[in-house]
């Protein structure tokens, strides 16, 4: 391999990987800042500013075609920019709503924010990878940060327990993932996703090696996106982790893992043999997530199962195996990120004594809508959108993943999806029923009065309003959905030619 000018080439690519570089540097600055100065008030806002800056950069890059950087290890622009925007937006929102929340639960440490930023850097690597090694590096960078964040509330048993479970099971699934990479390499002789079709066309490797590798690789992804039956860590971890960080985990990490999965199936995999397994997993995930969510009385746990169900909807789009399905899945991830961050944000704002979060059942939330109209109304947006009501983003999102699946002949899967999402209305709207139509019990009233006394923080209100507003815009104005289809149109012909 000729390495002349390698440094110059890598250096010139740094500009293309602006978001990644910026987040890594800012994360380091935050750690240093936290250790040198005893005042960590400014730290989260450094992270928010960096994310916003990176979002504006990616917005400029997005219309252009995706190009390979760092000797083909990663993508930049186009598709990658869209994924990065989802991750960065989730980061900015999470940092902004976490400040007051972590203050309230007494765990406002500076390193929390730098861990979030590092995790986001890992997600960016994962979501724009073009090599299986890059996928793995990104996945592990992200996961290790998330393990620590889950165990943030050290004093509480549940939090520590869930962190350990997450870590052990994560390590277990990573084993399968690595095996998958090894087998795929054995089958194709390359680690670069976009080189695999050509290698396979050349007749290299055996079927068993290839498909065994793909299966094991899928398992790693399915674990990260909490698809059934790899979902079992999800309710425990989501309930144990601090609420705003749960919102972050359930959105950004899923978005980047799904994005990497789409890159793998779009660039690397030849035939449609993998569609069936994803379709079956999608059906199981949607059924399990929605049915079990119905039985939950704790809102955070309900949202955990709901996030499992939504992973199923995204899988429906991917299982369609068409570019329309992939772009629908991408659009769904954006919508899902907004509504889930919002919903967890509302629940975080309602944890007034810092400990109720894990036990916060529906009854303790009666009549909140009238006491805190902003929380009540924005929760209305999030719940209706999660259910898939027009004219909110969730409706267009479901349409965007279901319609390609029908075109791909997966009508049975879409029927499962429609039935289960109809059932989901029960538990989503129950939240609104409790928020607006039930009166609080006598015992709960003092706690609510206490909540009334502390006004919502400005940053939380802004985040909730922005999320709700964007959901409405995405539901009424479909331009974003059209733009996601463009990511696959320019290079589709080239890929088809190779196949």
């Amino acid at each position: 391999m000729d390495l002349t000018g390698a440094y110059a080439s890598l250096g010139s690519d740094l500009g293309n990987a602006f978001s990644l570089v910026l987040l890594s540097v800012v994360g380091l600055v935050m750690v240093v800042w936290d250790s040198l100065r005893n005042d960590h008030r400014a730290i989260p806002w450094i992270g928010v500013a960096a994310s916003v800056l990176a979002i504006s950069f990616e917005l400029l890059r997005m219309p252009g075609p995706a190009e390979k950087i760092f000797y083909g290890l990663m993508w930049a622009g186009g598709y990658a920019s869209f994924v990065n925007i989802i991750i960065l937006a989730a980061t900015a929102f999470t940092l902004a709503i976490s400040v007051h929340y972590l203050d309230r639960i007494g765990h406002n440490y500076g390193e929390v924010y730098s861990l979030v930023v590092f995790a986001s850097a890992g997600m960016i690597v994962l979501g724009s990878a073009n090599s299986l090694i890059t996928v793995f590096v990104g996945l592990e960078t992200m996961s290790i940060c998330l393990y620590i964040l889950t165990g943030l509330v050290r004093t509480e048993e549940g939090s520590v327990e869930s962190a350990l479970k997450y870590f052990l099971l994560g390590a277990f699934s990573t084993g399968f993932f690595l095996y998958g990479i090894a087998l795929l390499y054995a089958a194709t002789g390359t680690l670069y996703l976009d080189e695999m079709p050509a290698a396979l066309a050349g007749g290299a490797g055996s079927e068993v090696l290839l498909w065994g590798g793909v299966g094991l690789l899928f398992i790693g992804f399915l674990f990260k996106v909490s698809a059934a039956p790899f979902h079992m860590w999800t309710p425990d971890v989501y309930q144990g982790a601090p609420t705003t960080l749960t919102g972050y985990m359930s959105t950004a990490s899923k978005a980047s893992a799904f994005a990497a999965l789409v890159l793998v199936v779009y660039h690397a995999l030849p035939a449609e043999r993998w569609m069936l397994v994803l379709a079956i997993v999608a059906a199981a995930t949607m059924i399990l997530g929605n049915v079990v969510a119905i039985a939950q009385s704790n809102v955070k746990r309900m949202l955990a199962y709901s996030s499992i169900a939504h992973a199923g909807y995204v899988l429906v789009g991917i299982a369609a195996g068409t570019t329309a399905g992939y772009s629908g899945a991408l659009f769904y991830l954006l919508v899902y990120t907004l509504m889930n961050i919002g919903a967890f944000g509302v629940m975080a704002a309602l944890e007034w004594d810092g400990h109720v979060g894990q036990k916060q059942d529906l009854d303790s939330l009666a009549g909140i809508g009238y006491r805190k109209p902003l929380l009540g109304v924005s929760m209305g947006f999030f719940m209706f959108s999660l259910t898939g009501f027009p004219p909110l983003g969730g409706f267009i999102g479901k349409y965007a993943v279901f319609a390609p699946a029908i075109d791909a002949g997966l009508t049975w899967l879409v029927i499962v999806g429609l039935l289960t999402s109809a059932a989901s209305a029960y538990y989503y709207l129950r939240v609104l029923y409790v928020f607006w139509m039930k009166s609080p019990e006598e015992e709960a009233a003092p706690a609510l009065d206490q909540l009334m006394a502390s006004p919502l923080s400005m940053s939380t209100s802004v985040v909730l309003v922005v999320c709700a507003g964007l959901l409405l815009v995405l539901g009424i104005y479909p331009g974003v959905l059209e733009s996601t289809t463009l990511f696959f149109s320019d290079s589709a012909a080239a890929v088809a030619a190779i196949r």
């Binding site: 350990l164 299966g215 059934a228 039956p229 790899f230 069936l276 397994v277 479909p478």
Partner: protein
């Protein structure tokens, strides 16, 4: 100015007003006291669109212009676009909606003063205007339906505006539920059209009525008409409108008189090429319209609540408009929508002004320690109000004369045109039109009588409320009287846009030339055989007959009620006997529905559905619950700190995934 730009702001301003008023009032409780703020914003976002519509109207080229903002969703053939159509019909409707709407917003500034829900009221009212504009401007049925449902929702919210009174909530529910039936029919019509034609935009569906088979066409038109009977309060779905008077009076004027209730007529005029191709359904429309008109008019004679008289009068006038539709005179129906918007809005606002004054009386009586309660809407406790409320009295009188059809007032031109068209259609060989014509003549007479009755009982005679020498009402503030004057002036002169055919052979009938398909407009007309030379004399004769009926009715009513007052009701009652009981009981529609539909439904639910719900539905739900809870137990067992079990599940998953992918 660019018409896309104008259309955009005509639609967006009322929406922005609704959002601003709603969010401002909801989230900034301190702001709720600032009534002028909500009032000014709320009125401005309707008045400015009116000016913009006027610009559109003045620069209209004669070519229909479609503005497509964007496609909301496209699935297969179904293409739901936010597209709006500017043509003669939508322009005239938009002018009425924004113009009359702006006046009523201004009126509400004074009328709603002091109400704790002031901000809410303006938010709903703005939202209503937005929905109504979608209805009249939409270029395809889905957008029209969006507006159709939107106005229904706003109507529901505003009827139940004072929701703490259970009666008002019940009225709101009734309106909503009855309208659902009509909306269902509307949806079915849309489904049939889409299935047969594969498109829902007006350009495609109106292009060729022959593209549908005759039976499909009949069904579509009939279903659309059933939809219209819900929104526009015709037999058998009219029963919600009188109850809808529970809402604040400006709402009755705007939604339940001038705009929303005419949307059924707008719909039929919009699809007039289809309607004309279904002559049997046209006969149904005309006969239903005629029956509704005479039925509501006879009920109106017996009512003592001033708003209820006007409500039944509205039902009756809507019946007139459907009569016109049923004889193929769509442009005349729209003409009557146009004039009716002025005089009926003015009458309602006048009644609101009276109620405002009588509320003051009630309040003063209470302060003076008077025992007992007077109903501020009951005409039996009014009388001689013209002495205290001269502006209200004069404008109410002008509008009464207009609706009665006194020559040269606006109602004369539009109503006579309807009667003439019915006659002409019968003369051309459609027998049912004769029936319609005769019923129309009788109803016109009744209209003059009951409207004069309401004017005389309210504004003339002696004061009939207690302690009348000490406690008197006073005239309403300028924000309320100015709209009254404007509307009554329009009620007087508005008819000149549609001069009858006897003048210059119809060449001066502006509204006909503006809307009619023979002159390039969107509203179709039947082709009638040419009449003989003597027809001009018949036309003159009909005009004289119409004038004589109006003048005679007013004269009779005035003599009877000015001389005898309330006693004359008893005389009518004695003269008509049991018939009067039938009228007073409103033909027992509510009771019949209660017997035939509501009670069986309730009993059926108790006997059949409740056990079904208890055993079957609950059984399934609880069964699912038990299963999930059982699953939860298993999960809890697995979750007693044993990560191994989770890992086992993963291994199971690995086996499944690899099994499917390798051997599947």
């Amino acid at each position: 100015m660019n018409s896309d730009f104008l259309v955009q702001w005509i639609l967006l301003l009322p929406l922005a007003g609704a959002v601003l008023n709603g969010l401002g009032g909801l989230f900034l409780p301190a702001l709720r006291e600032r009534e002028s703020l909500f009032g000014i914003v709320g009125t401005a976002v309707v008045a400015i669109p009116f000016v913009l519509t006027l610009i559109l109207f003045l620069q209209y080229s004669g070519e229909a212009h479609v503005t497509t903002f964007y496609t909301w969703m496209a699935a297969g053939d179904l293409d739901v676009s936010f597209a709006y159509r500017i043509d003669e019909l939508s322009l005239i409707m938009t002018l009425v909606v924004t113009g009359v709407g702006a006046l009523i917003h201004l009126y509400s500034v004074g009328y709603m003063h002091g109400d704790p829900g002031y901000w809410r009221f303006f938010a709903y009212l703005n939202l209503f205007i937005f929905a109504m504009l979608n209805l009249v401007l939409g270029d395809n049925l889905p957008v029209l339906f969006l507006g159709w449902e939107g106005v229904g929702l706003c109507s529901y919210l505003l009827i139940g505006f004072w929701y703490t009174d259970l009666k008002n909530s019940a009225a709101a529910n009734k309106a909503f539920i009855v309208n659902r039936i009509g909306d269902f029919a509307f949806l079915m019509a849309m489904f049939v059209l889409f299935k047969e034609l594969g498109a829902l935009d007006f350009g495609t569906i109106l292009a060729d009525p022959q593209a549908l088979s005759q039976s499909n066409l009949n069904w579509v038109v009939l279903l659309l008409f059933i939809g219209a009977t819900g929104k526009s309060a015709q037999i058998p779905l009219f029963i919600w409108l009188p109850d809808a008077m529970a809402g604040p009076t400006p709402v009755s004027a705007l939604i339940h008189a001038a705009t929303m209730v005419t949307s059924g007529l707008y719909l039929l005029a919009r699809v007039s090429p289809l309607v004309l191709a279904a002559p049997q359904v046209m006969a149904v429309i005309a006969i239903i319209g005629a029956l509704t008109a005479i039925m509501a008019a006879t009920i109106a004679i017996t009512q003592n609540d001033i708003k209820r008289v006007l409500a039944y009068s509205t039902v009756s006038q809507l019946g007139f408009m459907f009569m016109a539709t049923g004889v193929g005179a769509f442009f005349v129906a729209i003409f009557h929508v146009f004039t009716h918007a002025f005089f009926k809005a003015c009458l309602f606002l006048g009644s609101g002004s009276v109620i405002h004054g009588m509320h003051h009386v009630e309040h003063e009586l209470h302060k003076k320690g008077h025992e007992g309660h007077i109903d501020p809407q009951d005409m039996r406790t009014m009388g001689n109000l013209r002495k205290y409320m001269p502006a209200t009295s004069t404008t109410y009188l002008l509008s009464t004369l207009a609706i009665a059809g006194i020559p040269l007032f606006s109602g004369f031109f539009s109503k006579d045109e309807i009667l003439f068209k019915a006659f002409e259609y019968g003369y051309s060989g459609n027998t049912y039109a004769w029936f319609v014509w005769i019923v129309g003549i009788i109803t016109a007479l009744l209209t003059a009588i009951y409207m004069v009755r309401s004017y005389v009982l309210t504004f003339r005679g002696k004061e009939r409320w207690p302690m009348a020498d000490e406690v008197q009402p006073h005239e309403s503030p300028w924000t309320m009287t100015v709209p009254l004057w404007i509307l009554s002036s329009l009620a007087v002169v508005g008819g000149f846009v549609g001069l009858p055919g006897v003048i210059a052979h119809g060449e001066w009938n502006w509204i006909h030339h503006w809307l009619g398909a023979p002159y390039g407009g969107p509203v179709a007309e039947p082709v009638l055989p040419a009449h003989g030379g003597g027809f001009l004399a018949i036309e003159w004769g009909l005009i004289l007959l119409g004038s004589a009926i109006a003048i005679g009715g007013v004269w009779f009513g005035w003599r009877a009620y000015d001389r005898h007052g309330l006693d004359y009701d008893r005389k009518i009652s004695e003269a008509t006997g049991r018939l009067y009981g039938l009228w007073r009981g409103k033909y027992y529609w509510d009771e019949i529905y209660d017997r035939l539909v509501v009670q069986p439904l309730i009993r059926g639910s108790e006997k059949l559905l409740a056990p079904f719900d208890e055993y079957v539905v609950d059984g399934i739900v609880n069964g699912v619950g038990h299963v999930t809870r059982g699953a939860g137990q298993v999960l809890r067992y697995l979750q007693t700190g044993r990560v191994q079990n989770y890992a086992l599940a993963i291994v199971f998953g690995v086996a499944v995934v690899l099994g499917i992918i390798l051997f599947g």
